[in-house]
Amino acid sequence: MRLEGKRAIVTGGSRGIGRGIVKAFLEEGASVLTCGRSPAPEDLPADCAWKTADVSSAEDMEHLAATAGPVDILVNNAGIQVERTVADSTDADWDLVIGVNCKGVFNACRAVLPRMRSGGSIINIGSVSGQTADPGMALYNASKAFVHGLTRSIAVDHGPKVRCNAICPGWVETGMLYAGFDLASDPEAARRDALMRHATRRFGRPEDIAAIAVWLASDEAGFATGQLFTVDGGMTAASPINPGIY
């Protein structure tokens, strides 16, 4: 087991990618504490600790870090998506997206860093949308670019003691992805078209992202820091113009 004896905090482990990471970490022998805004989900694995906490609250993150004590791994997975352009975005959208996706990562890192054991690993969930834009997702795209920049800063500033990397998932089968398809005029056609844009001809699964999270958390990744790791089934390697699907 690659994470035996390690203690991990994973934010947003109630579902989707976060849950996939929680399960993989447990299977690899880590002890895991996860959090979310709601009470503990009923299907949470029995050996996973839960704390109800909001990442956008500095106080909540301080409590979470204090509860966890010394840790080896922090995964900043909690994130939120608002499907609007800049012109359509409200102040409340800004507070929500920036509060969770940007301030949330900052809050958790600031609270956990002083308690992190030497050799620790911080893994942030960035996005391919932080490098190239998804239309109609302005604040989300920008918030993920912030995560990418913060990832490099933490890697540089806390270098010898802590490694910090970001994973940039492409389209992963989660509630967030289905919400995207539902915006299309023909969700089924949109889904077929989107599949054709992936060299793998399938979308990602939470376990695909969990697999690289395990590697980045493990000592095998001891020389990997400050980088963005894209796992997207080849989507961003291909030109958006793909005559085969028109």
Binding site: A238, I245, Y246
Partner: protein, 264 residues
């Protein structure tokens, strides 16, 4: 005029994008040598001074040496080299013959190497006289992300990107700036050939439908013109760009700024 007093050498000067660069450079006051495989090029019109047309196969070192010798003897200087000559083989690696592979690299990469190598002494002496000497290579957005069925082309453009940075690094101290422009979809004979190849393929699409689909895939809802690219090349060649070197300048109507889009 931005290029007054400068002498420029443009390979592929009678092709789609090269022709527009030559025309723009002439308008900006430069003395322009337009080089191509034959005077007809891939278009039936040209805007350069026919007396400065250079018949040149960029893959032939002797011809590159002779072309630069001619520029030295005629103009006595060279300030700007534009490596716009390029070919595109529309195939996957399995379909590409070794000969086609070698030809792609010979024109797109070796050609850039040969003309640059033999232009450098002239460019360096322009820089020594205080002028801003500049090489502008042709990369492509295909050097970053792949179009299907263009394997050798994508690989050559990736090579040009790396060569651009290497040349900028080596010759920056000598006063020579080196950049690459990386066009996306530009309305040239090369693009029309791509449309004809794809448009007659499966799916029952007409070329017009395909052209519309390609336009719609761009945030700007259009593909570019050779003049759009010439505008950027003109700036990179000018003294305004005196601090710009070693970079890959993507000009693609926003195509590569967006994540893959689904067509609902």
């Amino acid at each position: 005029m931005k290029l007054d007093g400068k002498t420029a050498f443009v390979t592929g000067g009678r092709g789609g994008i090269g022709r527009a660069i030559v025309a723009r450079f002439v308008n900006e006051g430069a003395t322009v040598y337009s080089a191509d495989l034959d005077a007809g090029g891939s278009l039936d019109r040209h805007d350069d001074d026919g007396s400065r047309f250079v018949r040149l196969d960029v893959t032939n070192e002797d011809e590159c040496v002779a072309a630069m010798k001619r520029v030295r003897n005629d103009a006595g200087r060279l300030d700007v080299l534009v490596n716009a000559a390029g070919i595109e083989i529309e195939k996957t690696i399995e379909e590409t013959s070794l000969d086609e592979w070698n030809r792609s690299f010979a024109v797109n990469v070796t050609g850039t190497f040969l003309t640059s190598k033999h232009a450098l002494p002239l460019l360096r002496s322009a820089a020594e006289r205080g002028a801003s000497a500049s090489i502008i290579n042709f990369g492509s957005y295909d050097g970053f992300i792949a179009d299907p069925g263009l394997a050798a082309y994508c690989a050559t453009k990736g090579a040009v990107h790396a060569l651009t940075r290497a040349m900028a690094c080596d010759h920056g101290p000598e006063g020579v700036r080196v950049n690459a422009v990386c066009p996306g979809y530009v309305d040239t004979p090369m693009l029309q050939s791509f449309f004809e190849g794809e448009g007659s393929g499966g799916g029952g699409r007409t070329i017009t439908q395909l052209q519309k689909a390609v336009r719609d895939a761009h945030p700007m809802r259009t593909y570019g013109t050779p003049e759009d690219v010439a505008n950027l090349v003109n700036w990179l060649a000018s003294d305004e760009a005196r601090y710009a070197s070693g970079q890959l300048w993507v000009i693609d109507g926003g195509l590569s700024a967006q994540v893959q889009q689904m067509n609902p």
